[in-house]
């Protein structure tokens, strides 16, 4: 494969890193876009009060110099001095208080309310200090404060509003936005005045962020030198690309699972019979799927959460691949010849097909529906889906509350509606005593596994493929940090 004479040759020579992403962003406002891509951009353009060291998992001060839990619902922050926004505005307590108060109000329309709805209010306690009030005890607050909750410049934001932020974002982060072609291309330049915080300082001068929805087009650009970095490359392709490019593989917090309508929300289906659920658990060869299809850092998962998450109790019931046992269970349940059931998925059609193939082998046939995520989500939340292959990335929050609690607290996505599980989860979610939390999560997760409300399948991994000239380290939180990348 030859390199091309195509314009805008990226790379080390002109200190420009061109990266390609598939998803088109609504805008560049950190609080109105929901896509993972926005989380990535937010890390580069803005800073949170805190920063979690990806290596140690420790929460460090970022825009805050230090923090202190006053009680279960109050945290005090002392802010870093001398930080300026990209537009020259100085960062101080006014900015932080403004931002926290603004996002906490639902009417301001932060699109991912889960990120902010735990904030009651913030008050300024000094020019560089503030106090944050939580609505109720919420141990994951630190995680959010070091992730999605980023600090806006109060004057600028008050002036331009969400729309202005979306088209012309201003933050304190290691990169500033210098060009926005909505949905197409963004250009970031190194923020030379960036403070010496835990994120370190950026090295690469310019990042060109391109939106290329079609994966093959991404490869074509990669192969012809039009881009330097792509990610979420499927394992087969990553293997092949590895011959020419650097490939890093990193596990992610995303897990794939099969969920059943055990509560009968869709009406009477075989799924409400635990023997059927167990049969399915035994029928799917997760090991083989992981080895052949996902590869890399992926692991078979048994508990309904990502193992690294706080509270992800691992010692739960496990179901081995055993088609014979599956057939027995089906026969016991009154389906010696199997049955047909609707089955839905929204991504990774290949994995879904593999599951379908395994199910077919024990006599279960499916009416497969492959829908777009939004369409499937509407269907799921409307209580129309008895059996589905889904995935969940926990919004990169390293806490069981971001996954198990979401699905088993009788919300719209809950197809188990188990009262015990809900009680345990609520207790765990609202306690700040780690021991209490762990204990209750363990109870909940054990029951989920025993009852096979969910069949967790595997954890995902992400392949990053990039130019050999680039030094790049991925992390399991699926947030590429270009501010830590450098040319070799």
């Amino acid at each position: 494969l030859a390199t091309s004479g195509v314009p805008a040759l990226a790379g080390k020579s002109d200190d420009t890193l061109t990266v390609a992403f598939a998803k088109q962003l609504e805008n560049l406002d950190a609080y109105s876009a929901t896509a993972r891509e926005m989380i990535v951009i937010a890390r580069h353009v803005w800073d949170g009060l805190l920063y979690r060291d990806p290596a140690t998992g420790e929460y460090l001060g970022n825009l805050a110099e230090s923090f202190e839990w006053v009680d279960a619902t109050t945290i005090d922050f002392v802010l870093r001095e001398g930080v300026t926004f990209h537009n020259g505005e100085a960062f101080d307590a006014d900015d932080a208080v403004y931002t926290l108060n603004w996002v906490s109000k639902p009417e301001n329309g932060v699109s991912n309310q889960g990120n902010v709805n735990w904030i009651a209010s913030a008050e300024k306690t000094g020019p560089y200090s503030l106090r944050l009030h939580l609505k109720e005890p919420f141990p994951a607050a630190l995680e959010y404060l070091s992730g999605p909750v980023v600090m806006y410049p109060n004057e600028y934001h008050a002036e331009v509003g969400t729309a202005g932020m979306g088209s012309n974002p201003v933050g304190t982060g290691p990169y500033k936005v210098t060009s926005v072609e909505a949905g197409k291309r963004y250009v970031f330049e190194k923020n030379d005045g960036y403070f010496a915080g835990p994120k370190g300082t950026a090295e690469i001068g310019k990042i060109v962020w391109r939106t290329i929805p079609e994966r093959n087009t991404q490869f074509a650009e990669l192969l012809s030198g039009g881009v330097d970095w792509v990610w979420q490359v499927p394992p087969d392709q990553a293997e092949k690309l590895g011959k020419k490019f650097s490939v890093s593989n990193e596990s992610t917090m995303r897990i794939g699972y099969v969920s059943f309508d055990s509560a009968g929300r869709t009406g009477e289906t075989p799924m409400s019979d635990i023997r059927v659920r167990k049969a399915i658990a035994h029928a799917i060869n997760r090991e083989a799927i992981v080895n052949a299809l996902l590869k890399g850092a992926s692991k078979v998962v048994h508990s309904a959460c990502f193992p690294s998450q706080f509270g992800c109790f691992q010692d739960v019931a496990k179901y081995d691949y055993d088609p014979a046992r599956a057939k027995e269970l089906l026969a016991e349940a009154g389906y010696p010849d199997g049955f047909t059931v609707p089955f839905f998925a929204y991504r990774d059609r290949g994995y879904a097909e593999a599951i379908i193939g395994d199910l077919a082998a024990v006599g279960i046939s499916v009416d497969f529906g492959y829908l777009k995520y939004a369409a499937l989500r509407d269907k799921v939340q409307g209580g129309e889906v008895p059996f589905q292959f889904m995935t969940w990335g926990s919004n990169s929050v390293n806490d069981v509350s971001a996954i198990t609690s979401h699905f088993f607290s009788h919300g719209k996505d809950d197809y188990a509606l188990d009262a015990d599980v809900k009680t345990w989860l609520t207790t765990a979610d609202t306690s700040i005593d780690p021991a209490v939390r762990k204990e209750n999560y363990a109870k909940a997760l054990s029951k989920i596994a025993d009852e096979v409300y969910w069949l967790p399948l595997f954890s995902y991994n992400v392949n990053y493929v990039y130019s050999d000239e680039l030094e790049f380290t991925p992390y399991p939180d699926e947030v590429p940090r270009f501010f830590q990348a450098r040319w070799k």
Binding site: A292, R349, A354, I356, F368, G369
Partner: protein, 299 residues
């Protein structure tokens, strides 16, 4: 020098339309070629259970991406190789022919019925009916097919039946246009008036006087629209909104093979070429039928 005395002395009736048709069909190479290819594809589809060396749905993750026999690493066990789940590609291709043909035929049956009914009514009755049909055709034409099909399939999900229905309800326009103008032409022939003067009912006139004379156009449009429907379905499948796996539609196979475009190009080449050959043969046949049944005397 042949003495053609007999042809002068005796009144000799020329060949019947059927004989002429037979002769011109046999003389039309591309028609025969297209027809031959289609017969083969149809046979392959019908006999798929007999011909397919493997179960098209049987997966074996340990032999994923086995290349076809002519490439390094290929084997006669899987002549065309295996797909991303280790399913036999040849078997899937054979079963896929069924799906593509079913979609083509199903969609054409629906759209042909709608379009022909509308077109014949418009052409026969003229006036207001014609105006209404014309208006319906314009409405239909102004709807972007791909987009509407995508939207509807996205809403209702992409089962085989839904895809057939959606295509059927979207592709009737050409039938209506062609049937309308052919009916108009035939309607003005004196034999239609003779039939009226004899007291034939309208239905009888349409069925026995008009339909036989526009049948050739109907067949031409039907073949071309069948190709169109198959292509559209392939496009929908490619975008992930067509027929759903594990059904092996050829469009879907291209879509699945697309993932490995740069690494295992045969994965898209094989179903893509199959699709190309199928559409090409249908088109050749349609064009051939048009040539063969075109009214003689021109030129």
């Amino acid at each position: 020098m042949t003495d053609v005395t007999h042809s002068i002395e005796e009144e000799d009736f020329g060949p019947s339309p059927r004989e002429i048709l037979k002769k011109s069909i046999l003389a039309h190479r591309s028609l025969l070629l297209g027809f031959g290819a289609i017969v083969i594809i149809v046979l392959a589809a019908l006999l798929a259970p007999v011909l397919a060396p493997h179960d098209p749905y049987l997966q074996d993750l340990s032999i994923r991406f086995t290349p076809p026999v002519w490439q390094d690493g290929g084997s006669w066990e899987h002549i065309l190789g295996t797909d991303h789940l280790g399913r036999d590609y040849l078997s899937r291709l054979l079963y896929g022919a069924r799906i593509s043909l079913t979609i083509g035929i199903g969609a054409v049956l629906i759209s042909g019925t709608i379009g022909t009914t509308l077109g014949v009514c418009a052409g026969y009755f003229g006036g207001r009916v014609d105006m209404v049909v014309n208006y319906l055709i314009t409405v239909r034409l102004s709807m972007p097919v791909v987009l509407v099909a995508l939207a509807i399939v996205a809403i209702f999900g992409g089962s085989l039946n839904i895809v057939i229905m959606v295509l059927g309800f979207l592709l009737w326009d050409r039938f209506a246009v062609v049937m309308r103008s052919s009916t108009m032409q035939v309607r003005n022939m004196d034999y239609v008036q003779s039939a009226q003067a004899v007291g034939c009912s309208t239905l009888r006139i349409v069925l026995t006087e008009i339909m036989p004379n526009i049948m050739n156009n109907l067949i031409v449009v039907a073949t071309l629209e069948m190709a169109h429907a198959i292509l559209l379905e392939a496009g929908l499948s490619f975008l992930g909104l067509g027929v759903q796996p594990p059904l092996p539609s050829w469009g879907l196979m291209v879509a699945e093979g697309k993932e490995m475009l740069f690494f295992e190009p045969w994965l898209i080449m094989i179903p893509g070429a199959a699709l190309f050959i199928l559409i090409l043969s249908i088109n050749l046949m349609g064009d051939g039928v048009r040539d063969v049944t075109a009214p003689a005397g021109k030129n």
